[in-house]
């Protein structure tokens, strides 16, 4: 595992260490300041509340690894949510069928991005900026803005609101399974290695016989599917589907990814880091709230955390390079 993750990192330092530190610090502080923060129930609540963002962020990681970005996931979540509602209520499909169709829809949405990116060779930033508007707009158009789907059957709602044995939230298994799947995919498979190669140098990867377009297309399709899945989890948790679902989630997901140390230029990064990123953001939000602090502080501290994580990494690299250089210099000077 360590060799797979440490790809391209020059030393033992990884942003994971910084994040573990941050997480421990958060826990230490909030245990003192927050009411009922350090309880098992709260820990499980954090898992529950971070499921949607977590799903999106975990799938955003391979996208960013290829040097791309997917700004459309939040909007696609909204579109999938209302389509699920529409299929279930207006088309009268049983909810498992509607759910399956929603996943397919998510994949199609991702497929649109994939097609524009790989066929027309447009930058992902621009394509997904456009589809960000497009998907949200379609969601609003389908519902004329006003439609609100509620009253889902309890069999479905249990996925988002129920608990399993021991107070484990019902969405936790899905969330953990997906996260584990992405970890395996990115870190332990040939596909994951190909993604890194593409992130570092798409041309180089093509010359190495990697089917660059196919890999990139898959990544966006999967990211779209993840948006579909997140939409289901969202609808099950909140109990309603409306066109504004998931507004701004793309930024939260990207924040978690880059906080987790994945390079926005592609090639390096890890899903573990993303999970830590999701966790430290979720704990921050939750802890501040349990400490009766204003919600704005969470936003400000998120920014500080992002800058801190990046500067720490850069600073450490510079420091270690300088130290190594001075060591070699000293050794080279001594004999002469």
């Amino acid at each position: 595992m360590s060799t797979a993750i440490s790809v391209g990192k020059p030393s033992w330092w990884r942003s994971e260490f910084f994040l573990v530190g941050v997480l421990l610090l958060e826990i230490a502080i909030f245990s003192r300041t927050g009411s009922n923060f350090a309880t098992a129930i709260n820990a499980l609540e954090i898992v529950r509340l971070s499921a949607e963002i977590g799903l999106l962020a975990v799938w955003m990681t391979p996208v960013v690894l290829t040097g791309g970005i997917d700004l459309s996931v939040g909007s696609l979540l909204g579109l999938c949510a209302v389509c699920f509602g529409k299929l279930w209520r207006d088309a009268g499909l049983p909810w498992p069928v509607a759910a399956a169709a929603t996943l397919v829809l998510g994949a199609l949405g991702g497929g649109l991005n994939a097609m524009l990116i790989t066929r027309l060779r447009l930058p992902p930033l621009i394509v997904t900026l456009g589809s960000l508007s497009l998907f949200r707009g379609l969601a609003e158009a389908i519902t004329r803005g006003v439609d609100n789907f509620t009253g889902f059957p309890s069999g479905f709602l249990d996925w988002g609101q129920g608990y399993l044995v021991g107070g484990i939230p019902a969405q936790a298994p899905v969330w953990i399974a997906v996260a584990a799947g992405v970890i395996v995919l990115v870190h332990y498979t040939v596909f994951g290695r190909a993604l890194r190669a593409i992130g570092h140098s798409p041309e180089g990867a093509r010359y190495a016989g990697i089917a660059v377009n196919r890999c990139v297309a898959w990544v966006y399709v999967l990211s779209g599917t993840a948006a579909g899945l997140a939409a289901l989890v969202y609808v099950a948790r909140v109990g309603q589907a409306k066109a504004d679902a998931g507004t701004g989630y793309e930024l939260l997901a990207i924040t978690a990814v880059v906080l987790g140390g994945t390079s926005i230029f592609g090639g390096t990064g890890s899903v573990w880091g993303t999970l830590l990123g999701v966790a430290s953001l979720a704990v921050l939000r939750n802890g501040l709230q349990l400490s009766d602090q204003p919600g704005e502080l969470a936003g400000i501290l998120t920014g500080v955390l992002l800058l801190g994580a990046l500067s720490a990494e850069v600073g450490f690299k510079k420091f270690s390079a300088r130290r190594r250089a001075s060591v070699t210099l000293a050794s080279s000077n001594s004999p002469s």
Binding site: P123, R136, L251
Partner: protein, 309 residues
Amino acid sequence: MKRFGRELSVTASLLVLLAVLAVTAPAFFGKQQLLATLTAAAPVLVVACGMTLVILVRQIDISVGSQFAVCSIIAGLMARAGYPMVLVVPASIATGALLGAFNGWLVAALGLPSIVVTLATFVSWRETLRWVREGEFVKDLPDRFQWLGMGQSAGQGVILAVAALVFALLVYGLGWIALGRRVYAVGSDREAARLAGIRPGRVTWGAFVVLGALVGLAAVLNAIRFADVDPKTGTGLEMQVIAGVVVGGVAVSGGRGTLWGVLAGVLLLACISPALVFLKLPPQWEKAIQGGIILVAVAADRGGRSRLS
């Protein structure tokens, strides 16, 4: 010609939209509406000019909306505190430049990726403002604030003139001044620029400072159109501006693009929303149409390259 493919395709899209309007809703070209559309687009254009510099050097700034709000509020508060406008305007510009310099310092000196840096400052400034202002308008501004005390038509003239001046200066600067060409050089190949004796760090930092200053200016240009300042102003500005710039053909991979394309891109996006009102299209289609137009305009010229900057 191939080099200016995007400029042409965007201009064509704009002309098609205008042609449709000319046929179906000639009222769109009434003096009042034209003035309103243009004065609303002017601050966006000013910010887009700055954003062009930043994207040309292969960076991006998504914090402009938040900077815009901070500058607007500072301008409003100073004006209410009784400072004359000749101080308020430079103060707003300086605030913007300062915020830009902070972003630029993190990017150029520490080498942090700009998209992440500005994501962080985007959230931080906006939340700080929310915390401090709690959504309260800056009200009871002195009469010399709105339209700079010159009255509506003169004020609108000033806004358009300033925006045109900024645009012209930057077109000239980017096209004919050595420094401007260096912006392209740095975005095209940073290492080659360094070897050619250009200091890429300084150019990058400078681009952020100029963007910040232009955001400060744009904030004033926008604020003086109204009698009070909404602290939520500038929400979503970053998307509007970035969309305008990239639709206008500036490559996110740096080094390519012209301000003329940006002008067309900004105008295209600025026309869509009022156009829907005139075309009597249901508002719920607005975002879908906007996204569709972005994708079509960009796809019409497939010259882009697929690497994210």
